[in-house]
Protein backbone atom coordinates (compact mmCIF):
# COMPACT_ATOMS: atom_id res chain seq x y z
CA UNK A 1 0.00 0.00 0.00
CA UNK A 2 2.81 2.32 0.92
CA UNK A 3 4.48 1.93 -2.45
CA UNK A 4 1.22 2.52 -4.38
CA UNK A 5 0.38 5.55 -2.29
CA UNK A 6 3.82 6.98 -2.88
CA UNK A 7 3.35 6.88 -6.68
CA UNK A 8 0.37 9.26 -6.45
CA UNK A 9 1.67 11.07 -3.36
CA UNK A 10 5.04 11.72 -4.96
CA UNK A 11 3.34 12.89 -8.13
CA UNK A 12 1.19 15.31 -6.12
CA UNK A 13 4.15 16.79 -4.23
CA UNK A 14 6.22 17.15 -7.41
CA UNK A 15 3.27 18.73 -9.25
CA UNK A 16 2.89 21.39 -6.55
CA UNK A 17 6.64 22.03 -6.42
CA UNK A 18 6.96 22.30 -10.23
CA UNK A 19 3.87 24.48 -10.43
CA UNK A 20 5.60 27.34 -8.64
CA UNK A 21 8.40 27.95 -11.18
CA UNK A 22 6.11 27.00 -14.09
CA UNK A 23 3.54 29.63 -13.07
CA UNK A 24 6.28 32.22 -12.42
CA UNK A 25 7.83 31.64 -15.86
CA UNK A 26 4.44 31.67 -17.55
CA UNK A 27 3.40 34.90 -15.84
CA UNK A 28 6.70 36.54 -16.78
CA UNK A 29 6.11 35.57 -20.43
CA UNK A 30 2.37 36.40 -20.33
CA UNK A 31 2.40 38.92 -23.19
CA UNK A 32 3.83 36.27 -25.53
CA UNK A 33 1.62 33.51 -24.13
CA UNK A 34 -1.60 35.30 -25.07
CA UNK A 35 -0.45 36.43 -28.55
CA UNK A 36 -1.36 33.27 -30.55
CA UNK A 37 -4.67 32.91 -28.71
CA UNK A 38 -5.56 36.57 -29.36
CA UNK A 39 -4.66 36.10 -33.03
CA UNK A 40 -6.97 33.06 -33.26
CA UNK A 41 -9.76 35.02 -31.55
CA UNK A 42 -9.42 37.86 -34.03
CA UNK A 43 -9.49 35.48 -37.01
CA UNK A 44 -12.57 33.68 -35.63
CA UNK A 45 -14.49 36.89 -34.87
CA UNK A 46 -13.69 38.37 -38.29
CA UNK A 47 -14.61 35.11 -40.02
CA UNK A 48 -18.01 34.68 -38.37
CA UNK A 49 -19.04 38.24 -37.53
CA UNK A 50 -17.42 40.41 -40.19
CA UNK A 51 -20.68 42.38 -40.53
CA UNK A 52 -20.20 44.07 -37.16
CA UNK A 53 -16.63 43.24 -36.10
CA UNK A 54 -13.71 45.03 -37.77
CA UNK A 55 -10.79 43.90 -35.65
CA UNK A 56 -9.24 43.55 -32.23
CA UNK A 57 -6.48 45.32 -30.31
CA UNK A 58 -4.15 43.62 -27.88
CA UNK A 59 -2.51 45.65 -25.11
CA UNK A 60 -0.51 43.42 -22.79
CA UNK A 61 -2.93 40.60 -21.99
CA UNK A 62 -6.08 42.71 -22.54
CA UNK A 63 -7.80 42.16 -25.87
CA UNK A 64 -10.37 44.67 -27.10
CA UNK A 65 -12.98 43.79 -29.70
CA UNK A 66 -13.71 46.62 -32.14
CA UNK A 67 -17.29 46.64 -33.38
CA UNK A 68 -19.55 48.84 -35.48
CA UNK A 69 -22.35 48.50 -32.90
CA UNK A 70 -23.50 52.02 -32.10
CA UNK A 71 -24.02 53.02 -28.47
CA UNK A 72 -25.00 56.44 -27.07
CA UNK A 73 -22.12 58.51 -25.70
CA UNK A 74 -22.51 60.95 -22.76
CA UNK A 75 -21.60 63.77 -25.18
CA UNK A 76 -24.83 63.06 -27.04
CA UNK A 77 -23.11 61.63 -30.10
CA UNK A 78 -23.03 57.95 -31.07
CA UNK A 79 -19.98 55.85 -30.26
CA UNK A 80 -18.79 52.43 -31.34
CA UNK A 81 -19.08 49.65 -28.79
CA UNK A 82 -15.77 48.18 -27.61
CA UNK A 83 -15.61 45.19 -25.29
CA UNK A 84 -12.48 43.80 -23.70
CA UNK A 85 -11.28 40.85 -21.71
CA UNK A 86 -8.14 39.53 -20.06
CA UNK A 87 -6.97 36.73 -22.40
CA UNK A 88 -4.60 35.38 -19.73
CA UNK A 89 -7.61 34.18 -17.68
CA UNK A 90 -8.07 31.47 -20.31
CA UNK A 91 -4.40 30.56 -20.80
CA UNK A 92 -3.10 29.07 -17.53
CA UNK A 93 -3.27 25.53 -18.93
CA UNK A 94 0.32 25.74 -20.18
CA UNK A 95 2.10 25.97 -16.79
CA UNK A 96 -0.30 23.34 -15.44
CA UNK A 97 0.56 20.93 -18.26
CA UNK A 98 4.28 21.59 -17.74
CA UNK A 99 3.99 20.92 -13.98
CA UNK A 100 2.05 17.69 -14.59
CA UNK A 101 4.52 16.45 -17.21
CA UNK A 102 7.48 17.20 -14.95
CA UNK A 103 5.70 15.64 -11.96
CA UNK A 104 5.09 12.38 -13.83
CA UNK A 105 8.68 12.44 -15.11
CA UNK A 106 7.41 12.33 -18.67
CA UNK A 107 9.66 11.42 -21.56
CA UNK A 108 9.68 13.76 -24.56
CA UNK A 109 8.58 16.93 -22.79
CA UNK A 110 10.33 18.84 -25.61
CA UNK A 111 7.55 17.82 -28.03
CA UNK A 112 4.68 17.16 -25.60
CA UNK A 113 4.64 20.71 -24.24
CA UNK A 114 4.55 22.49 -27.64
CA UNK A 115 2.02 19.94 -28.94
CA UNK A 116 -0.09 20.54 -25.83
CA UNK A 117 0.13 24.31 -26.24
CA UNK A 118 -0.93 23.98 -29.87
CA UNK A 119 -3.88 21.76 -28.88
CA UNK A 120 -4.96 24.19 -26.14
CA UNK A 121 -4.92 27.36 -28.26
CA UNK A 122 -8.32 26.73 -29.93
CA UNK A 123 -9.89 25.85 -26.57
CA UNK A 124 -8.48 29.00 -24.98
CA UNK A 125 -9.68 31.03 -27.97
CA UNK A 126 -13.12 29.46 -27.45
CA UNK A 127 -13.28 31.02 -24.00
CA UNK A 128 -12.30 34.49 -25.23
CA UNK A 129 -14.65 34.38 -28.24
CA UNK A 130 -17.63 33.51 -26.07
CA UNK A 131 -16.58 36.06 -23.48
CA UNK A 132 -16.89 38.69 -26.21
CA UNK A 133 -20.14 37.21 -27.51
CA UNK A 134 -21.81 37.11 -24.10
CA UNK A 135 -20.81 40.73 -23.49
CA UNK A 136 -22.15 41.82 -26.88
CA UNK A 137 -25.21 39.56 -26.96
CA UNK A 138 -26.32 39.79 -23.31
CA UNK A 139 -24.77 42.78 -21.54
CA UNK A 140 -25.26 45.16 -24.49
CA UNK A 141 -28.27 43.45 -26.06
CA UNK A 142 -30.28 46.68 -26.29
CA UNK A 143 -27.81 48.21 -28.73
CA UNK A 144 -26.35 45.13 -30.39
CA UNK A 145 -29.40 43.03 -31.27
CA UNK A 146 -30.51 45.20 -34.23
CA UNK A 147 -27.15 44.69 -35.93
CA UNK A 148 -26.11 41.22 -34.69
CA UNK A 149 -29.56 39.64 -34.95
CA UNK A 150 -28.83 37.31 -32.04
CA UNK A 151 -31.94 35.51 -30.78
CA UNK A 152 -32.48 34.87 -27.03
CA UNK A 153 -31.82 31.17 -27.65
CA UNK A 154 -28.49 31.97 -29.30
CA UNK A 155 -27.55 34.20 -26.38
CA UNK A 156 -28.40 31.34 -24.00
CA UNK A 157 -26.08 29.07 -25.99
CA UNK A 158 -23.37 31.72 -25.80
CA UNK A 159 -23.88 31.73 -22.04
CA UNK A 160 -23.38 27.97 -21.74
CA UNK A 161 -20.37 28.07 -24.09
CA UNK A 162 -18.87 30.97 -22.14
CA UNK A 163 -19.30 29.21 -18.79
CA UNK A 164 -17.75 26.05 -20.25
CA UNK A 165 -14.88 28.06 -21.72
CA UNK A 166 -14.27 29.99 -18.52
CA UNK A 167 -14.94 27.47 -15.75
CA UNK A 168 -14.05 24.09 -17.23
CA UNK A 169 -11.89 24.11 -20.36
CA UNK A 170 -8.87 26.12 -19.10
CA UNK A 171 -8.10 23.57 -16.38
CA UNK A 172 -9.60 20.45 -17.93
CA UNK A 173 -7.70 20.72 -21.23
CA UNK A 174 -4.20 20.31 -19.71
CA UNK A 175 -5.38 17.37 -17.59
CA UNK A 176 -6.91 15.60 -20.60
CA UNK A 177 -3.75 16.20 -22.61
CA UNK A 178 -1.64 14.93 -19.74
CA UNK A 179 -3.78 11.77 -19.53
CA UNK A 180 -3.35 11.32 -23.27
CA UNK A 181 0.43 11.81 -23.11
CA UNK A 182 1.02 9.95 -19.85
CA UNK A 183 -0.98 6.74 -20.13
CA UNK A 184 2.25 5.07 -18.98
CA UNK A 185 1.90 6.80 -15.61
CA UNK A 186 -1.76 5.77 -15.24
CA UNK A 187 -0.75 2.21 -16.06
CA UNK A 188 1.98 2.41 -13.44
CA UNK A 189 -0.49 3.57 -10.75
CA UNK A 190 -2.94 0.77 -11.55
CA UNK A 191 -0.33 -1.94 -11.86
CA UNK A 192 1.26 -0.94 -8.57
CA UNK A 193 -2.14 -0.94 -6.88
CA UNK A 194 -3.10 -4.32 -8.32
CA UNK A 195 0.23 -5.76 -7.20
CA UNK A 196 -0.38 -4.32 -3.74
CA UNK A 197 -3.88 -5.84 -3.68
CA UNK A 198 -2.54 -9.26 -4.69
CA UNK A 199 0.18 -9.11 -2.02
CA UNK A 200 -2.37 -8.17 0.61
CA UNK A 201 -4.77 -11.00 -0.33
CA UNK A 202 -1.93 -13.56 -0.10
CA UNK A 203 -1.26 -12.58 3.54
Amino acid sequence: MQRGLSVVGGFFVRAILWLVPALALWFWARDWVVAPVAWLVERAMLFWFSVWVYGTELAGTEQTLLTTVQVPHPSGRAAELLVDTNVLMYCYGLPMLLALLLASRAHGIWWKLPAGALAMWPLQAWGVVFDFLIQIGAHHARFSTPITGFTPFQVDLFGVAYQLGYLVLPTLAPVMLWLLFERRFIGMVMFDAALDGATRSRR
Binding site: M1, G4, L5, V7, V8, F11, F12, A15, I16, L19, L23, F27, N86, L88, M89, Y92, P95, M96, A99, L100, G159, V160, Q163, L164, Y166, L167, V168, P170, T171, L172, P174, V175, M176, W178, L180, R183, I186, G187, V189, M190, F191, D192, A193, A194, D196, G197, R200
Partner: protein, 172 residues
Protein backbone atom coordinates in the same frame (compact mmCIF):
# COMPACT_ATOMS: atom_id res chain seq x y z
CA UNK B 1 -9.33 5.06 -23.62
CA UNK B 2 -11.52 6.53 -26.36
CA UNK B 3 -14.59 5.11 -24.63
CA UNK B 4 -13.54 6.72 -21.35
CA UNK B 5 -13.03 10.12 -22.95
CA UNK B 6 -16.30 9.94 -24.90
CA UNK B 7 -18.41 8.93 -21.88
CA UNK B 8 -16.57 11.46 -19.72
CA UNK B 9 -17.25 14.34 -22.13
CA UNK B 10 -20.94 13.45 -22.54
CA UNK B 11 -21.47 13.21 -18.77
CA UNK B 12 -19.47 16.37 -18.15
CA UNK B 13 -21.42 18.50 -20.61
CA UNK B 14 -24.77 17.05 -19.45
CA UNK B 15 -24.06 17.74 -15.76
CA UNK B 16 -22.56 21.14 -16.52
CA UNK B 17 -25.59 22.26 -18.54
CA UNK B 18 -27.89 20.89 -15.81
CA UNK B 19 -25.93 22.89 -13.22
CA UNK B 20 -26.61 26.11 -15.14
CA UNK B 21 -30.38 25.63 -15.23
CA UNK B 22 -32.43 27.81 -12.83
CA UNK B 23 -33.94 24.87 -10.84
CA UNK B 24 -30.51 23.36 -10.10
CA UNK B 25 -29.08 26.79 -9.32
CA UNK B 26 -31.92 27.41 -6.89
CA UNK B 27 -31.98 23.95 -5.29
CA UNK B 28 -28.27 23.11 -5.20
CA UNK B 29 -25.80 25.80 -6.28
CA UNK B 30 -27.06 28.79 -4.30
CA UNK B 31 -27.68 26.85 -1.03
CA UNK B 32 -24.31 25.10 -1.32
CA UNK B 33 -22.49 28.39 -1.98
CA UNK B 34 -24.11 29.91 1.14
CA UNK B 35 -23.17 26.81 3.14
CA UNK B 36 -19.59 27.10 1.89
CA UNK B 37 -19.46 30.75 3.00
CA UNK B 38 -20.89 29.77 6.41
CA UNK B 39 -18.38 26.91 6.86
CA UNK B 40 -15.50 29.21 5.87
CA UNK B 41 -16.74 31.94 8.26
CA UNK B 42 -17.11 29.44 11.11
CA UNK B 43 -13.57 28.11 10.59
CA UNK B 44 -12.06 31.60 10.39
CA UNK B 45 -14.09 32.78 13.41
CA UNK B 46 -12.24 30.20 15.54
CA UNK B 47 -9.23 32.53 15.49
CA UNK B 48 -10.80 35.74 14.12
CA UNK B 49 -14.27 36.29 15.68
CA UNK B 50 -15.02 39.39 13.59
CA UNK B 51 -15.48 37.37 10.41
CA UNK B 52 -19.09 36.91 9.35
CA UNK B 53 -20.97 35.45 6.40
CA UNK B 54 -24.26 36.31 4.78
CA UNK B 55 -25.45 34.60 1.62
CA UNK B 56 -22.39 33.95 -0.50
CA UNK B 57 -20.39 36.79 1.10
CA UNK B 58 -17.56 36.25 3.59
CA UNK B 59 -16.70 39.53 5.29
CA UNK B 60 -14.60 40.98 8.08
CA UNK B 61 -16.90 43.08 10.27
CA UNK B 62 -14.01 45.27 11.41
CA UNK B 63 -12.30 46.18 8.13
CA UNK B 64 -15.30 45.69 5.86
CA UNK B 65 -13.15 43.67 3.44
CA UNK B 66 -14.93 40.67 2.03
CA UNK B 67 -15.14 38.18 -0.80
CA UNK B 68 -18.16 36.96 -2.71
CA UNK B 69 -18.12 33.28 -3.65
CA UNK B 70 -19.07 33.19 -7.32
CA UNK B 71 -19.52 30.43 -9.90
CA UNK B 72 -16.22 28.63 -10.32
CA UNK B 73 -15.23 29.31 -6.71
CA UNK B 74 -17.79 27.06 -5.02
CA UNK B 75 -16.07 23.85 -6.16
CA UNK B 76 -19.17 22.55 -7.91
CA UNK B 77 -17.57 22.47 -11.35
CA UNK B 78 -14.59 20.60 -9.88
CA UNK B 79 -16.98 18.07 -8.32
CA UNK B 80 -18.78 17.68 -11.65
CA UNK B 81 -15.47 16.94 -13.39
CA UNK B 82 -14.56 14.34 -10.76
CA UNK B 83 -18.02 12.77 -10.89
CA UNK B 84 -17.83 12.47 -14.69
CA UNK B 85 -14.34 10.94 -14.38
CA UNK B 86 -15.50 8.40 -11.79
CA UNK B 87 -18.69 7.47 -13.64
CA UNK B 88 -16.88 7.09 -16.98
CA UNK B 89 -14.29 4.74 -15.51
CA UNK B 90 -15.15 1.01 -15.44
CA UNK B 91 -15.64 0.08 -11.76
CA UNK B 92 -18.30 -1.46 -9.49
CA UNK B 93 -21.11 0.95 -8.57
CA UNK B 94 -20.41 0.87 -4.83
CA UNK B 95 -16.86 2.05 -5.56
CA UNK B 96 -18.14 4.77 -7.85
CA UNK B 97 -20.51 6.07 -5.18
CA UNK B 98 -17.75 5.97 -2.56
CA UNK B 99 -15.42 7.80 -4.95
CA UNK B 100 -17.96 10.53 -5.64
CA UNK B 101 -18.83 11.07 -1.96
CA UNK B 102 -15.26 11.01 -0.62
CA UNK B 103 -14.09 13.04 -3.61
CA UNK B 104 -16.72 15.71 -2.90
CA UNK B 105 -15.46 16.05 0.67
CA UNK B 106 -11.80 16.16 -0.45
CA UNK B 107 -12.47 18.81 -3.11
CA UNK B 108 -14.62 20.97 -0.87
CA UNK B 109 -12.07 20.77 1.97
CA UNK B 110 -9.43 22.23 -0.36
CA UNK B 111 -12.00 24.70 -1.65
CA UNK B 112 -12.66 26.00 1.87
CA UNK B 113 -8.92 26.58 2.12
CA UNK B 114 -9.10 28.49 -1.17
CA UNK B 115 -11.92 30.72 0.05
CA UNK B 116 -10.14 31.49 3.33
CA UNK B 117 -6.77 32.25 1.71
CA UNK B 118 -8.43 34.46 -0.91
CA UNK B 119 -10.35 36.26 1.85
CA UNK B 120 -7.10 37.20 3.58
CA UNK B 121 -5.26 37.93 0.33
CA UNK B 122 -8.02 40.39 -0.65
CA UNK B 123 -7.26 42.34 2.50
CA UNK B 124 -3.48 42.11 2.15
CA UNK B 125 -2.66 42.72 -1.51
CA UNK B 126 -5.03 43.12 -4.45
CA UNK B 127 -2.48 42.02 -7.08
CA UNK B 128 -1.66 38.80 -5.24
CA UNK B 129 -5.36 38.24 -4.70
CA UNK B 130 -6.00 38.54 -8.45
CA UNK B 131 -3.14 36.18 -9.27
CA UNK B 132 -4.22 33.58 -6.71
CA UNK B 133 -7.89 33.92 -7.61
CA UNK B 134 -7.62 33.84 -11.39
CA UNK B 135 -4.74 31.42 -11.89
CA UNK B 136 -3.10 29.72 -8.91
CA UNK B 137 -6.15 28.34 -7.12
CA UNK B 138 -7.84 27.32 -10.35
CA UNK B 139 -4.86 25.10 -11.12
CA UNK B 140 -4.54 23.81 -7.54
CA UNK B 141 -8.19 22.75 -7.38
CA UNK B 142 -7.85 20.88 -10.66
CA UNK B 143 -4.69 19.15 -9.46
CA UNK B 144 -6.71 18.19 -6.37
CA UNK B 145 -9.39 16.68 -8.63
CA UNK B 146 -6.77 14.78 -10.61
CA UNK B 147 -5.04 13.41 -7.50
CA UNK B 148 -8.36 12.34 -5.95
CA UNK B 149 -9.24 10.56 -9.19
CA UNK B 150 -5.81 8.87 -9.33
CA UNK B 151 -6.18 7.70 -5.73
CA UNK B 152 -9.63 6.39 -6.55
CA UNK B 153 -8.53 4.40 -9.64
CA UNK B 154 -5.71 3.04 -7.47
CA UNK B 155 -8.29 1.98 -4.88
CA UNK B 156 -10.38 0.33 -7.62
CA UNK B 157 -7.38 -1.52 -9.04
CA UNK B 158 -6.33 -2.67 -5.58
CA UNK B 159 -9.77 -3.98 -4.65
CA UNK B 160 -10.88 -5.70 -7.83
CA UNK B 161 -9.57 -9.00 -9.14
CA UNK B 162 -9.16 -7.70 -12.69
CA UNK B 163 -6.58 -5.23 -13.88
CA UNK B 164 -8.64 -2.68 -15.75
CA UNK B 165 -6.77 -1.05 -18.57
CA UNK B 166 -7.24 2.63 -19.17
CA UNK B 167 -8.98 1.94 -22.49
CA UNK B 168 -11.75 0.16 -20.58
CA UNK B 169 -10.82 -3.41 -21.53
CA UNK B 170 -10.37 -5.84 -18.65
CA UNK B 171 -7.76 -8.53 -18.26
CA UNK B 172 -7.93 -11.40 -15.83
Amino acid sequence: MFRFFAVFMVLLVAMFVAELTPPVQKAVVVPWTSTLAAISAWLVSLFDPQVISYGKILQHAGTGVGVSIEAGCNGIEACIILTAGVLAYPAPWRMKIAGILIGFVAIQAVNVLRVITLFYLADWNQEWFEFAHLYLWQVLIMIDVLVVWLLWIRYVARNTSDIVEFDGAARA
